[in-house]
Symmetry: none
Subunit: 399 residues, 2 copies
Amino acid sequence: MYDRLLERIVKPGDSKILLIVVDGLGGLPSPDTGKTELETAVKPEIDKLAQRSALGVTDPIAPGITPGSGPAHLAIFGYDPVKWEIGRGILSALGIGFPVERSDLTARGNFASVDAGGIVTDRRAGRISTEKSTELCGLLDGMRIGDTQVFVRPEKEHRFAVIFRGRGLSDRLTDSDPQVAGQKPRQVEAKEAAAAETARIVNTFLDQAIEALKGKSPANAILLRGFAKHPELPSFSSRYKIKACAIAAYPMYKGLARLVGMSVIDGLESLDSQVDALAKAWHDFDFFYFHYKKPDSRGEDGDFAGKVKAIEELDRYLPRVIKQSPDVLVLTGDHSTPSVLKMHSWHPVPLLVWSRWIIADGLPLNERTCARGGLGRLRAVEVLPLMMANALRLEKFGA
Amino acid sequence: MYDRLLERIVKPGDSKILLIVVDGLGGLPSPDTGKTELETAVKPEIDKLAQRSALGVTDPIAPGITPGSGPAHLAIFGYDPVKWEIGRGILSALGIGFPVERSDLTARGNFASVDAGGIVTDRRAGRISTEKSTELCGLLDGMRIGDTQVFVRPEKEHRFAVIFRGRGLSDRLTDSDPQVAGQKPRQVEAKEAAAAETARIVNTFLDQAIEALKGKSPANAILLRGFAKHPELPSFSSRYKIKACAIAAYPMYKGLARLVGMSVIDGLESLDSQVDALAKAWHDFDFFYFHYKKPDSRGEDGDFAGKVKAIEELDRYLPRVIKQSPDVLVLTGDHSTPSVLKMHSWHPVPLLVWSRWIIADGLPLNERTCARGGLGRLRAVEVLPLMMANALRLEKFGA
């Protein structure tokens, strides 16, 4: 419902908004202590901020739905994550900073191992190094299938992005990745007649790649999935009339930011460099998306203590982050990643909103306090309008 | 979603419902005390009622969206405020009590100043007095353009309402008001072919108005906006099978009640007269919309102490209001108007529901208690169905 509403009431301003996304923020209690990661972490700075903020929880998509990072981020950027479905390929391509054109077809690739019979024995080719992967991508990059040019660029370890550039390419294709070992890579199939020629081009590329990788074991095959073209999303800056900047270390999140047209600062590897970049960019933008990855990674590893430490690390940096004095500050997650589940989950995500115009809950930040916070339980897609309101960047609706 | 549902399950009854709308009810903490207007007010009667009621909060439209009084009221009357958009013109015309017919075209007007070249130098003509405006409206009122009769009636200061009465008039017109000084008033344009003749009539009226106002500087031009016909809203009484009555002092709220077809009691100027009118009307209706304006006015003035006093004034009258013994009593706001913001805001609105069939929260009424109340966070449009349910006026849905 916001789609038609917002464009009519958004107004420009000079207020500044900082959105801190702590990936996988929400958790579940450890069976040993009965406390969640957030309840276990010693985080005086986060809790000091929380005390003077309004708390709540969000459902990334809807109760019970576990989101991938793509839809979870679209929702916190204020885009309906069910309406705007984003393929894995375009996230990979944008994530590595490839200048994707609207007519390009993208896919996410894995180097994989196949045996003499062509059966996949390892979908990740023993997680070869990024260095090795870069070398192998060089063998595949620049191929031409008829008029179609193929770009193959490394991501991390065994992962890479493929971009097909040609005329009339379609993303209505099935994956070649069988998703499990013990099977042959699949032929890519057209989901509709208009995609038949594209399927032929992609399958020809797959055949040529197998040729090129002969003898390169363990990385002697490739698997492609998530064929996608660039979606026609309205840009963040036109939608919200605000200059937005992404401060993220991981390719995928930079890709998500590029997808909605945010400026992306490259070359950030550590929280320390991210905090410096925020300070440097502060006067050039009005909206800052600050992404912190580690709690999700540790959660997915099932490393409860590691996730606690990752939260404590953020806590030590927080004073440097918030000393920029934004007019509106939100700290939340894109989704929950409980260490005991070792995966993204459906649990509501803690939400903290600070501005001059909130009623503080006077509570520390964790799953239990947020569930009882004054903001109640929101959909993630409602958070961005709330931030815009707190920044006094929305006109009144109706007379 | 209620639209199709309610008509199938609403049933008549003899229970009585009282909806008290405290305009601009919600607030924000004073920087001096950390307490909101509701937390500051001494209001023993309201709190006694709240103790035995269920509490919650509502979003008038959606989180982050600040509503005008029109959509905010439609929502608490149970109409989707985004679907049923109400033009400024019809609110102006109904607000001053003009007997608008379904075929009439209405607009909101401003007296304005233009220079010798016809450029707008002041969109409000120096905010001329209501007295002066009334005199000038007299010059324009009663004109005829072909078969179309034009009524021009003063609102307040430079504002007036225009009503075109004729055949086949359309509201698919652009505004003549350029919204900024330094430009000429715009020609009114038809947004669709069927509106071309109406555009011609309105433009002819605008030309004649300029003639009539020659030498009347600073009010030597008019600007029109918000062209609107009476929307085809289903009437409150047919939608809810209930006889409804509005007890409001201010024109706009009487206009909104008329818009949904409520009976409106005229001539009420004070809370005292409103309370008397409620007692008198009690046996003739089953639904009472009781509107109290003052907290919003003081909030818009930025008068924190004044808003506190306005709440305390309501508190003193409350025993006389509720001694009618309604079966369902709701006390809420149409929106929040925090004194510190001096305007309508996006903040959720406190909600109190009393009937025999609620679970009492045992708490006083304010923003913090309501945010934690047992009713949770609702959309305003959900409140009227909830009142109907508590009045045992809704059948079970489905077998």
